[in-house]
């Protein structure tokens, strides 16, 4: 379980995160939603130790992240940020093999390569595994990065806007994969996402942030209510049940 306690983050006196406390349960897909500047990405970066906080604690499986050994923590939690521009030329397979670094420090064993192959298969990248990343489309690249995270084989997987710049087909593919990771492999997934309908259809739990605070949190049916979302986004919402999903219309 991930437990966030009274986390504060300031930039030049402005509180980006104001006393956030949150528990994230295992085996679920949790989405962080909210307007731009609400602090979603910052919170994700703090949980994954990419940036330091100005106050509060983050516990992963009962241990504060500062007390974790950096290498050990990398076998527990992984994060993928939204901007992944890489300055070196890599093939898909080489990129995915980096996911095994926490286990082998760059000297991959047979077992490591097996995991790399599994991850490539899982993301259906077999055909393009020897292609260079700079020759791939945005969707293929994103899948390659997710394959790296899968090869890293961590219990917790954090993704910052994984659907950024993807068309609807690739977006659906990626969300389905995340769902499978949670259902089949028991991973705990946390994503920052802008599209409320994607969050609604594919997550178990939704956390709504606004102005550096947690505005609401709960199961999908608790959050996807007109009065809740209208309040946060300052837009007119109409929410309908289509199939088993709750879909918002706000256009």
């Amino acid at each position: 379980m991930i437990e966030v306690k009274n986390v504060v983050k300031e930039y030049n006196g402005f509180k980006v995160l104001d006393n956030i406390s949150l528990k994230i349960n295992k085996g679920m897909v949790t989405s962080f939603i909210g307007p731009n500047g609400a602090g979603k990405s910052t919170l994700l970066s703090i949980i994954s130790r990419l940036i330091d906080r100005d106050g509060g604690e983050v516990y992963i499986d009962g241990k504060e992240i500062r007390d974790w050994d950096s290498g050990e923590l990398a076998r527990k939690i992984s994060i993928l940020k939204q901007f992944n521009h890489i300055n070196i030329r890599l093939t898909v397979r080489e990129l995915v093999s980096f996911g095994r670094f926490p286990y082998s420090q760059g000297r991959l064993t047979k077992e490591d390569w097996q995991k790399v192959d599994e991850a490539i298969r899982y993301m259906k990248l077999e055909d393009i595994q020897h292609k260079y990343l700079d020759n791939l489309s945005g969707g293929q690249k994103q899948r390659a990065f997710i394959a790296m995270v899968i090869a890293q084989d961590t219990e917790y997987i954090l993704l910052d806007e994984p659907l950024n710049n993807l068309d609807i087909k690739h977006s659906v593919d990626i969300m389905k994969t995340l769902r499978r990771l949670a259902n089949e492999l028991g991973k705990t997934i946390i994503i920052v996402i802008h599209d409320i309908n994607f969050a609604s259809c594919y997550s178990d739990y939704i956390v709504v942030l606004n102005n550096g605070r947690i505005a609401e949190e709960g199961r999908v049916d608790e959050i996807l209510r007109e009065e809740v979302l209208e309040n946060i986004y300052e837009l007119k919402f109409s929410i309908q049940n289509i199939g088993n999903n709750r879909i918002c219309v706000y256009y």
Partner: protein, 317 residues
């Protein structure tokens, strides 16, 4: 396509051939003892400098995540010239000669490392922003240059000649004691870096990915930057302002070796750096008859190579 290992072997062979050429050209049964006693220290210094400049440039590009910058942006060349000019300005060249090369070497290395550490500390306060590094390096570089020319204008013309000699890279008067100190220094840093060679590969994925993969990124960056400062300072204090070599070497290396793996990239660039310097020195000595400084030779050939690269890239688009 050749694999990486055979490319490294080719470089190694080219390197050995050049070194042999450098050592045996013009030897005969009368002069060989004297000539070798001059040439061996010289070739050792050339190899040391070629390797450490290439080594530091590769490391610097990895941690700054940038393919254009080299440690020359730190402005250490200007600082070195400033130190030399300052010593001559205050004490005079006689006193400088009296204090000896060891003293000069030590002072220069210490000041340059200290200066780099100060720049790095400022950099870390600014959240690792690479533009601040550039800005600091440029501002201080210009400051030192202006102070240097100010003092150079004031001093005696004969003293000025002493300084001017220092501004050219020279392998002609290498002090063996200093050479050994430098070799040990470079060797120790190399051992240290090679123990962390895997994390360097991960660091070239950028900070976020590196941390996610368990590399203690911020600590590692500081350590590697200090290694870079030590390497550059030792090289510069030993032979003069040499950092221009870095840009040429690292680009040729990446172009030729085509790998992101530092365990191949670093040895490869060290070999290429040494090959360029030995070759440059051969041209400067044998073809130009010592009339052209090696820096000019290398920059001339390097410039041609860059124009070729640009033209070829232009066609590719």
């Amino acid at each position: 396509m050749m694999n990486v290992k055979s490319k490294l072997y080719i470089l190694l062979i080219a390197f050995i051939v050049l070194v042999m050429l450098f050592l045996i050209i013009g030897l005969n049964s009368y002069n060989w003892k004297y000539a070798l006693s001059r040439r061996i220290p010289k070739i050792m210094a050339i190899i040391l400098i070629g390797s450490s400049i290439s080594f530091s440039s590769t490391l610097f590009q990895t941690i700054t995540n940038n393919r254009i910058l080299t440690p020359s942006v730190l402005g250490l060349d200007s600082l070195y010239m400033f130190i030399q000019t300052f010593i001559v300005f205050v004490f005079g060249s006689m006193k400088m000669a009296y204090l000896g090369k060891n003293f000069n070497f030590l002072v220069s290395v210490i000041l340059m490392v200290l200066f780099s550490v100060i720049i790095f500390l400022m950099l870390f306060k600014k959240k690792n922003n690479i533009f601040f590094l550039l800005l600091f390096g440029m501002v201080f570089g210009t400051l030192f240059q202006s102070l240097t020319s100010f003092m150079q204008v004031l001093i005696d013309p004969n003293e000025f000649l002493v300084i001017q000699n220092r501004s050219f890279v020279s392998f002609n008067n290498i002090n063996m004691d200093l050479l050994w100190i430098a070799i040990i220094g470079v060797f120790l840093t190399a051992i240290y870096i090679f123990r962390h060679i895997g994390s360097l590969d991960v660091m070239s994925l950028g900070r976020d990915n590196a941390i996610s993969l368990g590399v203690n990124y911020d600590v590692q960056v500081k350590r590697v930057l200090i290694v870079v400062a030590v390497l550059v300072s030792i090289s510069t204090a030993l032979v003069g302002p040499i950092t221009f070599l870095g840009l040429l070497v690292i680009n040729i290396s990446r172009e030729f070796i085509k790998t992101y793996k530092h365990k191949y990239l670093i040895p490869g660039s060290m070999l290429i750096g040494s090959i360029i310097l030995v070759g440059g020195q051969l041209i400067a000595e044998r073809i130009m008859k010592f009339e052209t400084p090696i820096g000019v030779v290398i920059n001339f050939l390097g410039g041609i190579y860059f124009i070729y690269l640009i033209l070829r890239e232009g066609k590719a688009i």
